[in-house]
Symmetry: C2
Subunit: 374 residues, 2 copies
């Protein structure tokens, strides 16, 4: 049989969620896992290795037709080594840089003439931006990690010494809300977006998404779509990418890029004809992209995040109550131990009554995490 | 973690299609496969063994919280041996008998006061039914196998000698059309059906399904639903079951029962909020059943069945053309070699324009099977 094998570096929940569409389409997956206990490795073909080890990755890549990622941690030198050896890697090291390096990302967005916040590189000299401002480590940050609100120059200096590398400084925006838009692009240059998604944040972590965004103007939705498509083309994206945006005085400002399936696209598993995970596989295999239309008026997704609790952390027992309460609720389990602050699953509800959907999703995540028991 | 393990006897495409919802819900699956090359065994945890070997099944069942089936071939004695050893087997041997033994099924349907065709047991004596009539082997038949149209008593005697067992005789019905309805029931007694499905047959094999049935009267749809629920309760079903029905002069006559996920429910993977495969897992685990409402006005499913062809049987190459032509088409690949008469996959299209959906599905299955090349 001539079905290709997609190699995925990383075996967390994003790799796990690529497995169902791969099974449907008959595409072979091979995960490069840190451990056989990883969320995706529990249920898919994998090898265990160190993703910083170019030699191990090269050996594994020989069994794959194309290699992709589910996290940004793979060192750029390792990716370029794979490319130099003739491995098809998507996204390419050139594109992936903008997911890994926030300074490079800001430079590229400026070059593309797309809306950045005011920003500069900090390496010890007094900044031109006024305080308070945002300081970010250029690499390694996600889910609010590596992002700091800085009150004055002394704090900034202390952070700089502690990090030991140039920082990205950005103006502190007083935004109306945050949104994300998922976009996919194939080597052939075909691109497709999904409807923009409202991301509801708490402590810098997305706790809920609403798609489409209620009462968003056509102009703003179109602007988000155009922006995502322009970035995808501008960086020669292959695969799916999340573009996170701030809405400031009714206008878009680009916050972050993530060149992989992303939490703000999980709603698409049931909420779109083609999920971000199926689309990612199609894109990296240079197959025509799928229909991204919605399957319901609204899709609300809620993250199940561990909290400090005296409960036993059993994530299966709650199914009986939740499924009886809401037969339409879709539960996604990552098979990770419940720990404070850790994403261990998500739930999605589809329908037309937004308030009801949000209430159901709030209830389900609170019940699963142990915050409430009825 | 307290997630249960569902053991599935059999590892064909039905077991394969249980895997994605099991991954979503975090439920562990263990397949009892005939070979590691089986459709489901290729992508799921499994052991290889002989399903007629009660000892081997018992050993394997120790690692499962509940055991279910994906085919009817398991000898009844093996199932009762599992039950006697305290294994939770769903459906139970009492219910499963009506899937395995057509004579027992006819007797039960009569006992329940539900509409059978005229029928009798044939063991050599001249039948009371008039010729031509249908003769069926009591066990082992599916997809038109084990079903014969008999012109006269000589033919019947010959068949009886050849089969060497009592035959089920049924009147030959002049039916308007055939439909199927899927029903699920849990040990708790909760039951749910999906919308009745029109099954389009060719040479005794279903080639396409349409859900819901176009222009079906509310009364007939309700009757189909009531019939399925009555059978499910009457045989103490646990799991999902297909009830295949004839429509004769606008009235329902029960044709067959299959106590497992079934080809006529494949549309539910995308066409319903809860697929038959997720529902089967929920039912055998005694979890509350999911919402069976439709996600689109119509779901059309087409079986990809091998034909005599000089094509190379590559089932991946057609993806490029099919996905470009119809971005909304959902392709399901069983990873079986293409052979004449063999089901190797299916496709589903959702939408409101039934004629267009049927044309697209017809085209896709013809293109995948090699019957057409454009």
């Amino acid at each position: 049989m001539n079905f290709p094998t997609v190699g995925v570096i990383g075996a967390g929940q994003l790799a796990r969620m690529m497995v169902p569409p791969a099974i449907d389409l008959g595409i072979n997956l091979s995960l490069f896992a840190a451990s056989s206990e990883d969320s995706g490795a529990q249920i898919a073909s994998h090898i265990v290795g160190d993703y910083k080890d170019a030699h191990a990755l090269l050996e594994w890549a020989k069994s794959c037709d194309v290699v992709t990622f589910e996290h940004e941690q793979v060192p750029r030198g390792v990716i370029t080594a794979l490319e130099a050896a003739g491995v098809s890697v998507y996204p390419s090291s050139h594109a992936f840089e903008f997911s890994q390096d926030k300074l490079a990302m800001r430079g590229k967005i400026s070059e593309l003439g797309l809306p950045n916040p005011a920003w500069e590189i900090y390496d010890g000299a007094t900044p031109t931006l006024t305080f308070p401002l945002m300081a970010k480590t250029s690499t390694g940050g996600y889910d609010g990690r590596g992002v700091f609100v800085i009150a004055d120059e002394n704090e900034l200096k202390e952070l700089h010494v502690r990090i030991g590398a140039p920082l990205l400084l950005e103006e502190k925006l007083n935004f109306d809300y945050e949104l994300a838009i998922m976009v996919a692009r194939s080597p052939h240059g075909q691109a497709a977006t999904w409807a923009p998604t409202l991301t509801v944040q708490r402590d810098g972590i997305c706790i809920q998404t609403i798609t489409p965004i209620p009462e968003i103007s056509d102009a703003l939705a179109t602007d988000a779509i155009s922006t995502a498509l322009a970035i995808a083309q501008g960086i020669d994206l292959v695969g799916v990418m999340a573009v996170e945006l701030f809405v400031v005085d009714g206008k878009l400002i680009i916050n972050e890029l993530a060149l992989r399936p992303h939490n703000s696209g999980h709603w698409s598993i049931e909420g779109s004809r083609t999920s971000q995970f199926e689309q990612h596989l199609r894109a990296v295999l240079n197959l025509p992209l799928g229909d991204t239309s919605l399957t319901a008026p609204f899709a609300v997704m809620g993250n199940v995040i561990g909290i400090e609790t005296d409960k036993d952390g059993d994530l299966y027992r709650p199914y009986r109550h939740l499924m009886a309460r809401n037969p339409g609720l879709k539960i996604h389990q990552y098979k990770k131990e419940l720990r404070p602050g850790r994403k261990v699953g998500h739930v999605t509800a589809l329908g037309s009554e937004l308030l009801e959907l949000r209430t159901e999703v709030d209830h389900a995540v609170a019940y699963l995490s142990g915050a409430i028991d009825e």
